[in-house]
């Protein structure tokens, strides 16, 4: 029984992290109608930038977010405005090509500057855990990253619901021309959305960097997680992404619990496959 409860807790905590990994991709999927194949690589880029900041300034990875988030926001903004906006009107393929290209470039830049060695973001709390009972322990870092994931999503939800800027992004997603007619400067609106997307990826990147080792090529595995979360939750649905993250996390951990550790990834993707068959538009898609 304890082992099952432990798995459930682990699954929920992992789910919060997964939601954080996926939210940025969902946002861009839903709003700019763009599949960002470099989402995972931007996430890992966030991990590396945090690594540089923490090692130069000697601060904790959490504090490094103060620098990492704005830097990554700017990168997202610039990438959207200088590369992606130009080809948006030409259909889905050119943006796929560009983001795929970006993915390769980021990986190789990281390889060049950081070598292929495994890295991680050291923090004193990485190994701490809260003991609930003999068989149930909550790893603090998972708890924090889950909370961070949930908070990021709640903030984004409020941003889209309460602020003019957030509403303008949603309006542009619904009807770009009419948003323009209402006075939205659409030239920057997608850049803003991409900046936010990449900034959330960077936050997730710092969290996973404290939990797992990362390499220049780690991005692809995070892209797959993000993709799964987006598909399950429904593209562009903020809270759907949160629920999808939890479902995906639980599916993996419970799969490992019942069928052994080697089944962890597989059960997650079986859930994804079932979703694709029965509800390809996602759970919360309107």
């Amino acid at each position: 029984m304890d082992a099952l409860i432990q798995s459930l807790i682990q699954g929920v905590l992992l789910g919060g992290l997964y939601a954080a990994i996926g939210i940025g991709m969902s946002l861009i999927f839903g709003i700019v109608k763009l599949t960002n194949l470099a989402h995972g690589d931007f996430l890992v880029l966030g991990s590396y930038i945090s690594l540089v900041v923490t090692s130069t300034l000697g601060i904790s990875p959490f504090l490094s977010l103060i620098i990492v988030v704005p830097v990554m926001f700017c990168i997202g903004f610039v990438v959207q405005n200088t590369m992606l906006n130009k080809v948006l009107s030409k259909g889905a393929e050119p943006t796929l090509m560009i983001t795929f290209g970006l993915s390769i470039v980021i990986q190789n830049l990281l390889l060049y500057f950081f070598t292929a060695d495994a890295r991680n973001l050291h923090s004193s709390i990485t190994l701490k855990s809260i003991t609930i009972s003999d068989g149930i322990r909550i790893p603090v870092i998972y708890l924090i990253s889950c909370v961070v994931g949930v908070v990021v999503i709640l903030i984004l939800g409020a941003y889209f619901k309460k602020t003019y800027q957030g509403k303008a992004i949603m309006a542009a997603a619904d009807d770009l021309e009419v948003a323009q007619l209402m006075g939205v400067n659409i030239k920057n609106i997608y850049g803003l959305a991409m900046g936010i997307s990449i900034a959330t990826a960077a936050i997730a990147g710092v969290m996973v960097g404290m939990i797992y080792n990362f390499y220049p090529t780690s991005g692809s595995s995070y892209l797959v997680i993000a993709f799964a979360v987006v598909v399950i939750g429904g593209m562009g649905s903020t809270y759907g992404t949160l629920v999808a993250g939890l479902l995906f996390g639980l599916a993996q951990v419970l799969g490992a619990h019942f069928f052994g550790a080697q089944a962890q990834l597989l059960t997650g993707y079986i859930v994804l496959l079932v979703m694709l068959i029965f509800r390809p538009q996602g759970l919360f898609s309107k």
Binding site: Y164, K167, A168, M170, A171, A173, D174, D175, E177, V178, A179, Q180, L181, M182, G183, V184, N185, K187, K286
Partner: protein
């Protein structure tokens, strides 16, 4: 020139090689209603797009309050009080009715007046208050048109350009919407109506322009123009 709130001179606009508007000119004084009448494909919607900055005209000049506004981006024009209601009651379908209206007050100037403007829109269209929290995409065609009009009014405009407002709506709904337009015009709003419906346009407007194949082929005082004369120009007979 400063007699006119808006003056368009010799506007040309193209889609690729296709010249949709070929040297169209018109003007409108403060407080007027003018209609731009024409069949589907006559170029009237394109002309409006060129006026409100959605499209860059390939030739000609647009003056608003005596100032050259040719090629100025739409969001700046909205701030200057020039706004368009797009054809077919185009709302933001996934957003609530209230959020749609709030988007109308997007410019800094309009944000300050938002609550009064919202009250005003609810007064004009009480049904929108009832449906405030419903997704705009779930409304009927007429109600969506009300959202689109209300949303434009939220921007504190001086000149509103209604594009094919009656398209696809039931006659009773059209009548109500026209009555509303007349009312807001009486309160000081200047109105451009882009229409296919000859009879209705002549009845409501002060002056009319008839467009055919990208050109203005007839213009005049709406009461002096006969329906026959307009129809001939309209079809190019």
């Amino acid at each position: 020139m400063s007699d006119y709130l808006l003056k368009a001179e010799d506007i040309n606009a193209k889609y690729g090689d296709f010249q949709a508007v070929q040297g169209a000119s018109f003007d409108i004084k403060k407080g007027e209603i003018i209609s731009v009448i024409g069949t589907n494909g006559a170029g009237k919607s394109t002309l409006m797009k060129a006026i409100v900055g959605i499209m860059k005209p390939s030739g000609g000049k647009v003056y608003y309050k005596g100032e050259d506004i040719t090629g100025i981006p739409t969001h700046k024009l909205v701030e200057m009080g020039l706004i368009a209601v797009p054809e077919g009651g185009r709302v933001f379908p996934r957003m609530s009715v209230l959020d749609n209206l709030i988007m109308g007050s997007y410019t800094p100037k309009a944000r300050k007046e938002r609550n009064q403007a919202l009250e005003r829109v609810y007064e004009l269209f009480p049904i929108l208050k009832e449906k405030a929290n419903q997704a705009a995409g779930s409304l009927s065609g007429g109600q969506r048109q009300m959202v689109a009009i209300g949303r434009a009014l939220m921007s504190e405009p001086e000149l509103v350009c209604f594009d094919e407002i009656s398209l696809g709506l039931a006659p009773t709904v059209i009548k109500d919407i026209y009555a509303t337009i007349r009312q807001i015009n009486k309160e000081g709003l200047t109105v451009i109506l882009v229409e296919q419906d000859v009879k209705r346009s002549l009845k409501i407007s002060d002056r009319s322009y008839v467009m055919l194949k990208g050109k203005i082929v007839l213009e005049g005082n709406s009461q002096e123009l006969t329906e026959d004369e307009v129809k001939k120009a309209y079809f190019g007979l």
